[in-house]
Amino acid sequence: MTKSKSSSKFSIVLRLIWRRGEGKFALIVLASWVVVSLVSLVWTPQSLWATDGYHVWAKPSVAHWLGTDGTGADVFSWLMAGARTNLFIAILAVVFAGALGILLMSAMVSRNSALSNVSVVAVDALISIPTVLIALILAVPMGASVAVVIIACGIGYGLNLARIARPQALLAANSDYVGSALSYGASGFSVMLHHILPNAMPTIMVQLSLSAGTAVLAESGLTYLGFGVPSGVPSWGHSLATSVKFINVYPLTVLWPGLIVTIVVVALNVFGDVLRDAIDPVTNPELRRS
């Protein structure tokens, strides 16, 4: 192998995921999500703003693959463009949650007992505040915006992540190898980076993959309530919310956005499950050899 160590590890994990049927499904769906998002930046079958007043709520046709909505806009094009907004939200929410979660986790297992006590207590108390409430509090001064969804999800999932990753981190923090590293004069920061974080990383990655799914769900709910993606910005929640009002008349239009959200969230959840098995060095000898 000429590849660097980390990239070969990455490719081994990918291969292990691909080897399983549901892993294949997850990888294909997630890859399509990224591809569609990128394509939608340069091309959609119809312009997003082209409204066709004569063909409102049209049935699927060659021009409009999934029909049109109440303003005559092309449903398929809006769903394509929605993919990129949801991808953007999911990625930023996960990055934010990961950063906050790792920071809180580090504080919770810190040797400074005042810091660790305060952070454990704070996380315990705040964990029961649901994401939607955080979003509401943010929406009061900020109005409906993509940022509200990202920050609310980031805070909510970050707290969750810290709580879930803490046992693993604590186990590593109390281990003999950390003790010996400290006795050699390693700093707390370096121990965190080289010993504790790698131990907690599998748990963190699985949890973040699940959080990405929850972020997609949260977007649809918050946008429907009017605190999420502002109107005019394409997103799956937006497509779902606009079709809701006319469900009595045009029930078919409502099927597509919900179906896409469900498939993508299933893929993210499955990916998390398969990832859990794939990155476990105990069950995968290939990972130990690399």
């Binding site: 315990d124 509401l136 001064p141």
Partner: protein, 323 residues
């Protein structure tokens, strides 16, 4: 006992902290509460009048403490739009939301516990993966869409089966018990099915952990079959963990409930909060947000106590920490 006191103090501190956050969120608005409430084209005199009427011309610290003092006495303020006291409005809305949460929880428990236990005990791979599929897909459905599908299937007027009301709540409220209950069936099913799927996953993993433990070997050595051991010993051992999950889930249900109340046009807490926010009735919003947050923090407090009470092993565990 020390644990109870410490946990209670934590609850109080968190309550105070969240009240500061909510208060601050409403004060860092561009402009101020009065100008936002008065609307865009309001004359300055109207804004000034509102400001003094609501006491917004006082220093922030005074405003905060007078609000907090009111909360402590059970005085949540009056809505400027309707002129009614906020606590009575919220109580009325809660009479829709709490039954909805309880019904949803019953559905979720019935689905989640049953399927979770059955799927743990299932031995045939095909059956196991079928249950796995149900759990994964059920948890991935957006609440809004799940509700829509149920309306399309069962809703009166629109649905294929045309059996249940899908819009609104009877004027008379619970005075008209039958139709009040009927109007909550579809919303509760929506909330319950989605949370039931995630509860099923938790049940399976909690019970699965216990199934591999020495307790099970012990029970089976005493003559229990695998199923008896799971139902009589396994479930009891998994209970503390499940109670935590169910507690947090019932609080987290408000997320789904908010969407569902709007979808089914139910006059509950979630839908009311959205309306008040839309109407910029910010004093009401401030108190309602606080009440919701207090409710969640209280549930978290209760769950931790219950968890401790249900798992006698924890009494002898190290003080502090969660587990």
């Amino acid at each position: 006992m020390r644990f109870v006191i410490r946990r209670f103090l934590l609850f109080v501190v968190a309550l105070l902290a969240i009240s500061v956050v909510i208060f601050a969120a409403l004060r860092i608005l561009p402009g101020d509460v009065a100008s936002v409430m008065a609307g865009l084209n309001a004359p300055p005199e109207r804004v000034a009048q509102l400001r003094s009427q609501m006491g917004l011309d006082r220093p922030l610290v005074v405003q905060y403490f007078s609000w907090l003092g009111g909360l402590l006495q059970g005085n949540f303020g009056t809505s400027l739009l309707t002129g009614r006291s906020i606590s009575s409005t919220v109580a009325m809305r809660a009479s829709v939301t709490f039954p909805l949460i309880v019904l949803g929880l019953i559905v979720a428990l019935a689905i989640g516990l049953t399927l979770g236990v059955v799927s743990t005990l299932a031995t045939r791979p095909a059956v196991r993966s079928a249950f796995h599929f149900i759990a994964i897909v059920g948890g991935a459905i957006p609440a809004l869409w799940g509700g829509l599908l149920l309306i399309l299937l069962f809703g009166r007027g629109t649905g294929l089966l045309d059996v249940l009301p899908s819009q609104g709540f009877p004027e008379a409220g619970w005075g008209n018990f039958g139709s009040a209950l009927a109007s909550l069936v579809l919303p509760a099913l929506t909330v319950g099915i989605i949370d039931g799927a995630s509860l099923m996953r938790y049940t399976r993993s909690a019970l699965g952990d216990v199934m591999n433990s020495g307790y099970m070997d012990q029970a089976m050595a005493c003559g229990y079959t695998r199923r008896q051991a799971a139902l009589k010993v396994g479930l009891r051992l998994a209970t503390p963990q499940l109670v935590s999950v169910v507690g947090l889930m019932s609080a987290g249900m408000i997320t789904g409930v908010m969407v569902i109340e709007n979808l089914f046009a139910l006059p509950g807490i979630g839908a009311g909060l959205v309306t008040d926010l839309g109407n910029r009735d910010l004093i009401a919003v401030q108190s309602e947000l606080f009440m919701l947050a207090a409710f969640f923090l209280f549930v978290g407090f209760l769950v931790d106590l219950l968890h401790r009470f249900l798992d006698p092993r924890l009494k002898h565990a190290v003080q502090g920490g969660v587990q």
